[in-house]
Amino acid sequence: MKRSQHLLSVVLVAAALVGITSLFGNDYYLRIVFMMCVYYLCAAGMNVLVGYAGQKSLGQAGLFAAGAYSVALLTTRTEMNPWLALVIAAGISAACGVLIALPSLRVKGPYLAMVTLAFGIVVEKLVGEWTDVFGGAQGIYGIKALTWNGQPLTSQQWVWLGIGLCALTHLLLRNLIQGRFGRALLSLQADEIASSSVGVRVYRAKVIAFVVAAVTCGIAGALVAQQNQYINSDFITFHLSIFILLLVLFGGAGSQYGPLVGTVILTAVDAALARWPSAQHFLYGFLLLFALYVMPGGVTGLFSKWFRRSTDAPEASNAAAAPTRIGPEGKGELLVVQGVTKNFGGVKPAQNVSFRLQRGHIHALIGPNGAGKSTMINMLTGLIDPTEGSIQFLGQEVSGQPVHSICCMGMGRTFQNLRLFAELSVLDNVMLGRHSRMTNGFFASLFALPGAKKQEAATRERALQLLDLVGLLHLAHHPAGSLPYGLQRRVELARALATEPQLLLLDEPAAGLNPQETAELGQLLLRIGKCGVSILMVEHHMDLVMSISDHVIVLDYGIKIAEGKPAEVQANPRVVEAYLGVDEEEAHVKPELESQPC
């Protein structure tokens, strides 16, 4: 098994390092190795945040301080056991991580980066100026070191502890990012809207990433404080935050061994330049400025092309009985929209619209450009809240619910302008669809408990089945962004199906497809309909709409002007008027709706 092989090799490497360091007599070298371990801890957690969740934190020094000052105060002001203090320090850092993550609920991108920077500076000022508690530049002396058999650890034992912690952190974080959580984090980095629409709780995932980075950084800080038995405000600088970020970016953000490579190289360089602090800082600045330009993937990114595994062979379809049931059988009303109105200032893309969708039917929502069709889909899936009216799905009110929970209730969707996670493989895209149907929690993933492994395997199996259904099994391991447009539409469809929807909302599924592909899509939709999934599609291809839908709703300028069977709608004079306009003399000529592709 790959996982146990990996475990074995990590243990062997750690043991070898312990063996080598036990031969070191020189405290200076031991100290450098210890600092490598400390920085690796910071970098490994930071990699989850920067490389996977795609959030830039410029305030890690604040979290480092949280860990360091926690053990300092806990062991000097109370008689607490230093090991217990270390654990509590990790907890306090986690709380600080939540604190930094809070603003991410409201702000994104550069704003959030600036907020984290502010957090780092505030902590720096606080420990520097609030001397009654933190001692300022004087610092706190007499921090109790970790003990073994009642004796404080020796320099060598500190290094061994560091190596052990690094190996453990590496293994745990690897478990975490190779499964459900890693995929979710990558998806929110790529596209938060698509991510929430497949059921990822975006905000929660971000908080988890911040907390992971905070805990590892806090432990690192605590270790430094306990090893030195001293901490003062000079440790906590903006440059520390930059250094921690640089470890990840230089090594290669989002790569498994990037943080390790970055840490080993930069800590060694740091030690070599320790006598010239301004040269050190100049180098960091230089690396920040140019490293990303020359090597966007960091050092590991440069070499990755030599080590890239050949793309796995096409998956054999072990899912012969592919088109399995997705939704439950039954009849009755699935979705009831009542008096929904939406105002964007003066623009009213929906005015008192009401309609009902039946289980097992294929519904179409049509109308000229600007009729409010996409807005309706966005309101149904919770991306936009209606100004007035109610939307009931399976008897439950939908408006006001967050996007991911609407997805969990059984509504899946595709987007008008494709929103695939372009960097991820086709298979990963579809597996993400099942995110909300997987039940393994954070800790189950972290420790790779049997349940988590089983869930992962089941999800993979299911995703392959769905890929078979849409005819993309042979492309499962290609990056989704590399596929031609028509196939990307099918990937998005498979991803939406993986959320196990009872109602599938398709926003212009045939846009950009040629007539042949459109006809194939029609057949595919009919097959999906037979799997127990009801469909509501927005579409301009009238031939597709008329040939497969059971029921058509027509919107014009936010007003429902007609609904009924395709043939009825086609004959409705108001619909004709909306599409072709009305000419005083020729108002009675029957136009050919089919030849209206838009």
Partner: protein, 307 residues
Amino acid sequence: MVEALLQAILSGLAVGGAYALVALGFSITFTTTKTLNFSHGEFVSAGAFIGMSALFLVLGLPVTSTTFGQALPGAGAQLLALAAALGVMGLLGWLLYVIGVRPFAGRPGMAWVMSTLGFGVILQSIGLAIWGPKPVVVPGPVGDTVIRLLGVGVRPQELLTLGVAVVIMIGFDFVMNRTMVGKAMRAVAANGNVASLMGINTNAVMIGAFVISSALAGLSGFLLAPIAQASLFMGLTVGLKGFSGAMIGGLSNPRGCVIGGFVLGVLESLVNLWQAQWREVAVFALVILVLAFRPTGLFGKKLVEKV
């Protein structure tokens, strides 16, 4: 008590003027290029030190000196120093845009955050190599005699900072709303591609945005140096508070940014009266509070992402 309060408000307004200049700089680059200069703070320090070294040169002292001693530069020297600070900072802004922003702007991943941050770290380490970490006392252009105003003592430099900041804001507002240059900048801000189709040189406008923004940071540093001593570390907090001011007011609204800067200056000064170490925490808390209720600032436009 009332006097202390008045005093705090006045000096808060003066420092707030400097913050407002910085906030305005953030707003200018953000609206035109959708990027921010993360080393804006270092640019503030750089402005202070370039002004200071120009003064050294005029007085015949070596550039690397760290004290003015008894020498007192005259008005001409101060004006020359101001021009030097603005000019050099403008050039630095251009350099930053060319090597740090243009290669990354508009691409996903916010690599420009790192590159602008790196540019600032380089500037700071060069400064450290020349002048070392110690702050330098810089003589102000309007003397150090305290003026009595409504029974409150005010340093003339504080009044100068406030005055200059207000004049710059009004001038900027006029240019943005009443001239063709301002219209071009607003067009680029609204949609760069369309603006270039209309014959506007977007590249020039973006360079201009960085030049002006950096010059404003330099001006703010130049004005702050006599109030708070020139230090290579002064910029980071000034830059951060400028950004906080911009966030409170709304990055997309220059007037809001200015108001935000002044509000922060006064708030900080009032908190300082009470407990100095909570100053930064109070500022940060206010930012979080504003973001919680108005993510785009008090006067910012709401951004809608099209799905």
